[in-house]
Symmetry: C2
Subunit: 151 residues, 2 copies
DNA sequence: CTCGATGCAAATGCTTTGCAGAAAA
DNA sequence: TTTTCTGCAAAGCATTTGCATCGAG
């Protein structure tokens, strides 16, 4: 369910607590469930994905709370918001160190993360050549994965 | 207003006519205005941008018609739909030959188009290495342009 | 005359917000 | 007790759709 270790989860929860304390925000049962589900689940979750996982632990949690909690996680830098070709926003754990891009199967919607230093270097140069100071980027490759092509 | 020559516009209009004929679609005043405005205007237009330009020529044209006509232009391959970081969909003329990506200034929203064969080649390899057959991609660089940094 | 196209308004889908009651601090 | 949170339902937005009417062929 998660490629994140137990100690990494503790670390993320500590970062969140520290942020909430700094901002005078309260620790509630709902925020604990939402952030726990998010930290423990791999992949690129939509609000609906999150909500159904959260409701397994507490069936009364509402949409708005999930939206508000995810927004909080984005603000404190623990989650990244992504818009792929569909209409919904998806969230992934933010890895402070290395950033990655995505390879998406148009058929089965599988998402593979990648990182390519050479491409990063080239886009940095390219921006520079146009007089831009690069702040961020979005690089998404859409195609058909092996499994989907062979069936 | 446009970097597209008069003969190029004629060519685009012919392609559209051919497509409509093939599909048994009708040539209407509204479709002529919308496509004409689109072909003659450079840049990355939202539906609202289009609508206000179109209404200068015919004030009674409705939102839905612009949406429907732009959808038609996308279907026949003459327009490309783009989602940058804002909430609205933008359209640009599709250049059948070479495809390009975008460099966007976060401050002034200026959009510069670029093309980089080396990056294209690398992403092709990358997809292959993951067992994907590449269909399309999206590559957007966000930063600060020269003018915005110097003021 | 016949369908496809239009314009309006209503419907949609995702996301945000206002508010009264619930629960942290 | 005070102030923030929650859940609900309502509001917002961009986009799509249903439908009566219009107009191209």
């Amino acid at each position: 369910m998660s490629g994140v270790t137990e100690s990494k989860i503790g670390e993320l929860q500590d970062q969140l607590s520290a942020y909430m304390e700094r901002k005078g925000l309260r620790s509630t049962a709902q925020r604990r469930v939402v952030s726990d589900v998010f930290f423990r689940t791999d992949g690129h979750l939509s609000i609906d994905d999150m909500l159904s996982l959260v409701r397994k632990q507490d069936p009364k949690v509402g949409y708005a709370t999930v939206y508000r909690t995810m927004k909080l996680l984005v603000e404190c830098g623990l989650a990244n918001e992504r818009q792929f070709d569909d209409t919904v926003t998806r969230f992934e754990i933010a890895h402070e160190d290395s950033h990655h891009d995505h390879l998406i199967c148009l058929e089965c919607k599988r998402i593979v993360e990648f990182e390519d230093d050479e491409i990063e270097r080239l886009q940095e140069h390219l921006a520079e050549r146009h007089g831009f100071k690069l702040v961020s980027h979005k690089h998404e490759l859409y195609g058909m994965c092996e499994d989907c092509r062979s069936t």
